[in-house]
Symmetry: C2
Subunit: 421 residues, 2 copies
Amino acid sequence: MKIEVVTIGDELLLGYTVDTNAAHLARTLAAEGVEIERRTTCGDTAESIATAVRDALDRTGAVITTGGLGPTSDDLTKPSIAALFGRTMVLDEEHLAWMQERWRARFQRAMPESNRQQAMLPSGARKLVNNHGSAPGIWLEDDRGRWVAMLPGVPREMRGMLSDTLLPLVRERAGTGGRVVRSRTLRTTGIGESHIADLVATIDGGVGDVGLAYLPNADGTDLRLTVRDVAPSDADARLAAAADRLRTVVADAMYGEDGADLADVVLALCRRHAITVGVAESCTGGMLGARLTAVPGSSDIVRGGVIAYDDAVKQSLLGVSPDQIREHGAVSEPVVRAMASGIRAALGVGAALAITGIAGPDGGSADKPVGTVWIALDLGGDVQARRFAMVGDRAEIRHRSAQAALEMLRRRLLDGVRVAR
Amino acid sequence: MKIEVVTIGDELLLGYTVDTNAAHLARTLAAEGVEIERRTTCGDTAESIATAVRDALDRTGAVITTGGLGPTSDDLTKPSIAALFGRTMVLDEEHLAWMQERWRARFQRAMPESNRQQAMLPSGARKLVNNHGSAPGIWLEDDRGRWVAMLPGVPREMRGMLSDTLLPLVRERAGTGGRVVRSRTLRTTGIGESHIADLVATIDGGVGDVGLAYLPNADGTDLRLTVRDVAPSDADARLAAAADRLRTVVADAMYGEDGADLADVVLALCRRHAITVGVAESCTGGMLGARLTAVPGSSDIVRGGVIAYDDAVKQSLLGVSPDQIREHGAVSEPVVRAMASGIRAALGVGAALAITGIAGPDGGSADKPVGTVWIALDLGGDVQARRFAMVGDRAEIRHRSAQAALEMLRRRLLDGVRVAR
């Protein structure tokens, strides 16, 4: 089964919103063996919606749309697509009553009039339950079995409706005969795309007939293996064989698979070694702490840290000496080592990570250009420090710095440690 | 002039990468009066690339593609599109020599063989200079004036090439006769989409004939006004009139326009009042600090902070009393007030923001469900605190918490203050 996705909204087409729904839809459907053949984004006019959906229907007969179901005036999805199916719009009294009740219960006031049009549905439509909002999704199907499913644009609502209601309907119609598309992604960091490609070229027979894509990003380089139109049992075996081949060359640079987050991987390693963690951040200003605490359940490992953006804070809360800063500068090996040891002592943690650097756009010099970042790890009193030359803009330099700090701790823990908690 | 954009890559179609390039292209072109009519995303097969680009060319005669120009094996964009124009692929000796020289200079070693194919170009192609990477962009045009511009997929390279090289070419051909599409976005926070819609409904004549879109997101609700196919002078006047009307109803809930970042707005206000800032973060774990320090030049205002994820850190570095935590819990008004006052004293800042809450997914109770967040502001000793019930998942709750803290400081500074630095 091939599906096309049409994401609707001037905000997407004009670039004011990045289309995260499309990525989520694709991942979820691919895991079901349903392939998205093409994705189209069109604006909020009745004509462009109708044209894009009609083209997609003609190609595949199976279309999922997102967006345009909200209460406000830019919402034309339902009537445009109803017209394609030759349906009129009718008021769904049941849904209107439900919405009015919901408003009274949640907000203790009458529902705004502008929400009323959410209860207008194409005749003969099937409602898709929305457990996270007030706009129902719509399923329209004609007598030839061609269908369009309309989902809301708000990501939380779209995701809930997809898993709760739409996937079972799609599965019924998919009849993929058990054939699936499956991917595995090996995540690497600290090693470049070209370098990996050269290493892969040394594998006798490469990764076989499995597709391999290189996906460089601010976390590192992801290696995605894909098999298409195969039986599930074959898929896993073929992906596993290809992953094994890749691992022989990328080795320790690989920190996880698929959606793996380096912070999550590091926390699991810390848990295994019963090591608590603290951070001292200058140029990253809290990003490393934010990365670590973004992981649910991180509170058994992460104690906290100090954002020492100003040099005075490096002195007062981390015990860095004014002499070190004056002599070597705030972005230097002695200072980053003192920051790491300072936060380890202040919090009483097993592992302390410190970052100080020049994220730009200003503040660089010939000696220490923008992108110069020192990172230190104090693990039970054993301190290591490394200088990095990060590429990219301010946001990328900061992101790469937090990632490199996490990687320093991961590599150190991989080597095997025995330290006091 | 209408342009279609085709973004190429299995990683986009399968949802492993979110398409940020598309948004950047759209914003940049719209500012030039060039409208993107439709955007298509297709996979990394020669056939799907050729089909999508041919369809787009047939509709508009002007297509920009991103992706598929890298050194690795998944790159089929150039040959697929060359075939559409009836061109063969030829080795560009000049570009090959430049690439080899660049590798020697930057990495002190020979260029990997896998990069060689980046120097294969369609015959008759015009190279688009890449100042941020080694793959050139390609411009192909036929004798009927139909063209395709191929840009790399790496965002930094794509953005550089677009502004350095492609925009002038597009401008030459656009001949928009001075007609433009222009937007203004009013950013609001702390007020819901439906509520704003009701307020807008009270404006006599609404916002005139200007398009209005409601864009709810984790920062708040953005209100985008758009005029199409108008002269630049008219565009600005009409947008200004509509913005004035909107402002009469949204009032102080609006913190800025277009790409405005609340952290940036708050820093500017602090600068005006000569107030330094510090943060104390529990559930956000550094996100508020990261937001503030993401702004270039924030170091004159932001001193730093403490990530007090663990209650022991709230006590040792912020001076919260164990009794307060035992009696009221870590997520409570007394504790958040003590955190704010503690960090203000520790750093000697003018304004201190503190956040403590339950981001979930676990840790909620009937009294304090997931999403319960206390935020406090200590401004020169005057402390205010507020309880919030944030919706969304862990990431959204944390993001909304940081945003609400910034908004608390903005509102307080709007009221007018006179405090010691």
